[in-house]
């Protein structure tokens, strides 16, 4: 191979391109995307690598780092867990993005597109027959057991017309290129296809890193697809401007990141089952404004879990009564409940002839056709060839009696296990399929400056719109670290890759913006679900508590340094600071400890004391994670930074000065976060709840400080600590030229409405917030939380610093806590009329 034959077009650095391609060692027995059967690189790949090698090796590495950094910063992640109801929080993994996209030419893509649309239409017709007249069964074209064996065949859906007249709204096909060079459908995703959001994020990361290359290569854009998808969802509803929800199983879900990402990108309301309630045949969202009707639900929960009353009784993820609303046709579920029945392996071998029956066409893209062992002839064939086939569950899952959750390779079994497998095939053939082990084509991946071929599966997405099916021009490519790629899941070792479709002509840059005359101008983004409000509130409280804890630690460290220097044994401030830390759980059970650097370090870093700065940040991050679609990527990044700052990374004992420094550095991050929240967050209800949480927490803490550090004969060290904690040193010293005195300090810290750290200031802000939040009834009567805050404001307005004793301050504090309860009872889920549902069961 010489550079001239390799590079038909002109490239700036043919020698670099040549070197890169020469190092690419193909795997035998499998076709490759980059190198054709003639041994030459394909032209569309040359466009990519030719452009890439315009950059030096160092530059390329730097660009890759940019994309990796983007992935880290935006927090793209997925969890490794399969049980959505597991108690333990599964570990979150950073997203492994391959640096080299899969590149396909437009001509080839058009064929794929047409094939996927044909298949989507076929599957839609198949669902309509399965849940409708069932002609395929009565005509003997489809054995009923192929359908009834699936846990996703939902009998309550039988005879129910899908609201909106469509079962599938989003469909995905997993494609692989076989040894014959053709694309094959390896499986269908009809339940709740995942990956489109990840594909979008992959695109953002890679196109940022290689912006010129991306622009020059005429890569087809993804945004218009998502726009049509959203419009398609909206068109299903019975109302104009419908409320569209994305129903997630919650933060435990493997792909929760994608749910938050898509909700944010498409402007959908992210809800969990507990956010929804069925009343009078309609599905409602519990919001801070009461129940609001949900028109369309794009679901990411398995249908079987969707309604604990009529479907899986063990589900905690669903909405009791959802099936009834579906039967009433009052809510559109996308995809329709029961669509998942088409994902069964057992069905695949029937698809080709069903295609001829249902749509009168042969499949444009063939699918693999495993032998379903429910049929005598197929079973006999599989029995004969157990040695060289892979045996898999006919309806997902593994082979009964075999530990693996995937396919069992006959060749790898012991004689005893082989006999056991044969008996299972004999007795439970209906549960099994046998399939050939296919070699799929490979695509180049970047491995430390060299290209390495790896097998892959490409997921292609199609969305139903008013104008027919639209296919996302791109895809979600999963690259296996093993050579058999039929079941690449995003688990250990696998990578994902972007898919670039190279248009023959320049593509329209961005068409995300809708035409101006079709947009109704609005300033509010819609109602806030109660659960989101709850989490925003707690995010606010935790963040404020983190800040308070850090201030105490900083103050304690400073006092210890000072005490050490002056040998001033008069002040008891360090001990009092330590008592505060103990009181809110930053330190373990109270012993007669002496305030020390060790103690301060523990309050900072401990991962077992729930009130330590570290644990509080973790709690804040957890609250943030379930409202992630409402926070900007910046906010999330700063939260991650905050977590890094309070993480215990030292094995050694920390000195007072080091602790002081750590607390100070962490406080810089909390300030950045406060700034971001105040300056960048839109003043919607979510922001108000965050701030309400923060204000209540700050007011309560400040009351506590005052009670802890002021008595009529407080030593100046105590008062000094109080001014530190309340961040009022400068204000005090500017206002009062005398030394520290109790009454002026109490006035400044508690009653002065102009001091942003005072209790009175917090109460004023709380009053403003509660005024702005929507009332439940239109009768004009103040609600409980509103009355409480008025009372508090009046009491504080009338109080005088000279007579302000601890009893009064304690009363403020308790009223603040009642206010917190009242806010919770009014706006959040734990109100008396929204207790979590329990299941009743009769005795048999």
């Amino acid at each position: 191979m010489s550079a001239t034959t390799l590079a038909p077009r002109h490239f700036d650095h043919p020698e670099r391109l040549d070197a890169l391609l020469k190092g690419y060692q193909l795997l035998s027995g499998a076709p490759d995307e980059l190198i054709g059967s003639d041994g030459l690189p394909r032209p569309h790949w040359l466009r990519f690598f030719g452009g890439l090698t315009n950059l030096t090796a160092e530059e390329i590495e730097r660009r890759f780092n940019v994309s990796d950094q983007h992935i880290r910063d935006s927090g793209v992640s997925h969890r490794i867990s399969t049980d959505p109801e597991a108690d333990a929080l599964p570990s979150e993994r950073a997203w492994p993005l391959s640096h080299v996209p899969l590149v396909l030419p437009e001509s080839e893509w058009r064929a794929i597109e047409a094939g996927v649309i044909q298949r989507a239409e076929l599957l839609e017709a198949l669902l309509a027959d399965i849940y409708g007249p069932g002609r395929l069964f009565t005509d003997g074209l489809l054995p009923p057991a192929v359908v009834t064996g699936s846990a996703e065949f939902l009998r309550p859906m039988h005879g129910v017309k899908a609201p909106g007249g469509r079962y599938l709204q989003l469909y995905a096909a997993d494609l692989g290129r076989g040894p014959d060079g053709r694309w094959w459908v390896l499986g269908d995703r009809t339940q709740a296809p995942s990956g489109a959001g990840y594909a979008l994020e992959n695109r953002v990361a890679l196109s940022r890193a290689f912006s010129e290359l991306y622009r020059d290569m005429n890569v087809e854009r993804l945004a218009p697809f998502f726009q049509s998808m959203r419009a398609g969802l909206a068109s299903m509803a019975q109302r104009m401007e419908p409320r569209i929800c994305l129903l997630t199983p919650g933060a435990m879900s493997e792909t929760y990141f994608e749910h938050t990402y898509l909700a944010r990108y498409l402007g959908l309301l992210l809800v969990e089952g507990a956010d929804l309630v069925m009343r009078d045949g309609l599905i409602h969202i519990r919001t801070i404004e009461g129940l609001k009707r949900a028109d369309v639900i794009m679901r990411r929960i398995d249908a079987d879990f969707a309604d604990p009353l009529e479907l899986n009784a063990a589900s905690h993820l669903g909405v009791p009564g959802l099936m009834e609303a579906v039967r009433a046709g009052s809510v559109v579920i996308a995809n329709a409940l029961g669509s998942g029945v088409l994902e069964a392996n057992a069905l695949l071998s029937f698809i080709p002839h069903l295609s001829r029956t249902l749509i009168g066409e042969d499949l444009a893209i063939p699918n693999i056709a495993p032998w379903w062992c429910g049929q005598a002839k197929e079973r006999a064939l599989v029995m004969d060839r157990v040695e060289d086939l892979a045996i898999a569950g006919a309806f997902g899952g593994g082979v009964p009696g075999f530990a693996t959750s995937g396919a069992v390779l006959g060749a790898s079994l012991s004689p005893a296990d082989k006999d056991r497998l044969r008996r299972t095939i004999e007795e439970r053939g209906v549960d099994l399929v046998g399939q050939e082990v296919v070699r799929l084509s490979t695509t180049p991946t970047w491995d430390e400056g060299r290209l390495t071929p790896r097998p892959f599966v490409m997921r292609v997405f199609a969305a139903a719109t008013e104008h027919g099916w639209r296919v996302m021009p791109g895809g979600f490519c999963r690259i296996s670290d093993r050579l058999d790629a039929r079941a690449v899941s995003m688990r250990e070792g696998a990578q994902s890759a972007d898919v670039w479709i190279l248009a023959d002509k320049p593509v329209e840059p961005m068409t995300l913006l809708p035409t101006a005359d079709k947009v109704r101008i609005r300033r509010f983004t819609g109602t806030l679900p109660s659960r989101a409000a709850d989490n925003m509130f707690w995010l606010g409280r935790y963040l404020e508590r983190v800040e308070a804890t850090l201030r105490i630690i900083r103050c304690l460290a400073a006092q210890l340094i000072e005490a050490g220097a002056t040998r001033d044994l008069d002040t008891r401030a360090p001990q009092k600071l330590a008592d505060l830390l103990f009181a809110w759980g930053a330190l373990p059970e109270k012993r007669s400890y002496v305030a020390s650097a060790n103690l301060a370090a523990r309050a900072l870093h401990s991962d077992t004391d729930y009130g330590s700065a570290f644990c509080l940040v973790r709690a804040a991050r957890h609250a943030a994670s379930v409202v992630r679609e409402r926070l900007s990527p910046d906010t999330w990044q700063i939260l991650n930074l905050l977590q890094a700052r309070v993480e215990d990374d030292a094995d050694v004992l920390l000195s007072e000065a080091e602790i002081l420094d750590r607390a100070r550095r962490a406080l810089q991050v909390t300030s950045a976060l406060s700034g971001l929240v105040q300056e960048n967050m839109n003043r919607v209800a979510g922001w108000r709840f965050l701030d309400v949480g923060r204000r209540i927490e700050r007011a309560v803490n400040t009351c506590r400080y005052v009670r802890q550090f002021t008595t009529d004969d407080s030593p100046s060290g105590d008062l000094d600590a109080l001014l530190d904690l309340a961040d009022c040193q400068i204000t005090y010293r500017q206002r009062y030229f005398v030394g520290l005195a109790v009454a002026p300090i109490r006035d400044l810290v508690v009653l002065d409405p102009h001091n942003p750290r005072s209790v009175a200031f917090q109460v004023e802000r709380l009053s403003e917030h509660l005024d702005m939040l929507p009332p439940l009834q239109g009768d004009g009567m103040p609600e409980a939380q509103r009355r409480l805050v008025s009372l508090l404001a009046a009491e504080m307005g009338a109080a005088e610093a000279v007579t302000l004793d601890h009893t009064t301050i304690l009363a403020f504090e308790q009223r603040l806590l009642s206010l917190s309860d009242a806010v919770g009872a009014r706006y959040f889920l734990q109100g008396p009329h929204a207790a979590r549902a329990g299941k009743i069961m009769g005795l048999a």
């Binding site: 009923p144 009834t148 064996g149 009998r155 049929q375 309806f395 007795e427 009743i840 069961m841 048999a844």
Partner: protein
Amino acid sequence: MIYDVTHVTAYEYGSPITFARCALRLTPQTGAGQVVLSAEVATEPPAATRSERICFFGNRVTMMTFDTPHTEARFIAKARVDVRRPPLPMALPDETLDRVREEAIANHGLSPTSPAHFLFPSHRAPDYPPATSYVRESFPPERAALDGALDLIGRIRRDFKYDPDATKVSTPLSEAFEGRHGVCQDFAHVMISGLRGLGVPAAYVSGYIRTIPPSGRPRLEGADATHAWVNVWCGQRVGWVGLDPTNAIPADDDHIVLATGRDYSDASPVDGIIFGSREQDVDVSVDVIPVG
């Protein structure tokens, strides 16, 4: 035989229920050897909304909501049913297990009684290899399937201890199987799971059984019980046969069918979601009185 059945399910809650949504399968249906002469379901407190539908398996389901706070609820079902079930033929059909298995997979459409619905694991009767092994012992090669199934109910009756305190409604199959104890519901699930494991379609039946008081003693009020047994599909020619593993008898004129499904969760008499209380006590009383 004509029976008057009264079935009362009473709940007491730890704290007031503010809202409840219930699905009741308390109305028997005509068919499979019985004719329903009259049936009604009443509740205390009265339901706020009420609707009826026939579920996929042909059971009558009464959907109700309650929206006034209450700490006690009673569901009272009354029915008069005429039961005339043909006895099993003296000469048992000779279809073998292999034949039943093969015919089960053949196409019978998607109708509610199609064996295809009852071939696969379900939530309450999951695939459980120990139960399959246990059941397999009743089916040596060449033995007729129904003969094997009759042997099986005899073994279950001998090997399992009837013990209402050993299991609850929510006890998983594996626990009842390992302890070899439980109630009718557990025995039915064990039998269903094991039969399906061998490729034999099996369905869950909920209903009532008349209990005959010991001779010379009067019948006690509320002494009867809700009951559960199994329908086994014995091939195309024979179809479904009701077998009661708790009593080791075929379902006969003493059995009154309430609902049928893949397992308990398709056929449970009272099901629902309540808001407001976690604690609840349930008391069930059943009277099955022959009236002629």
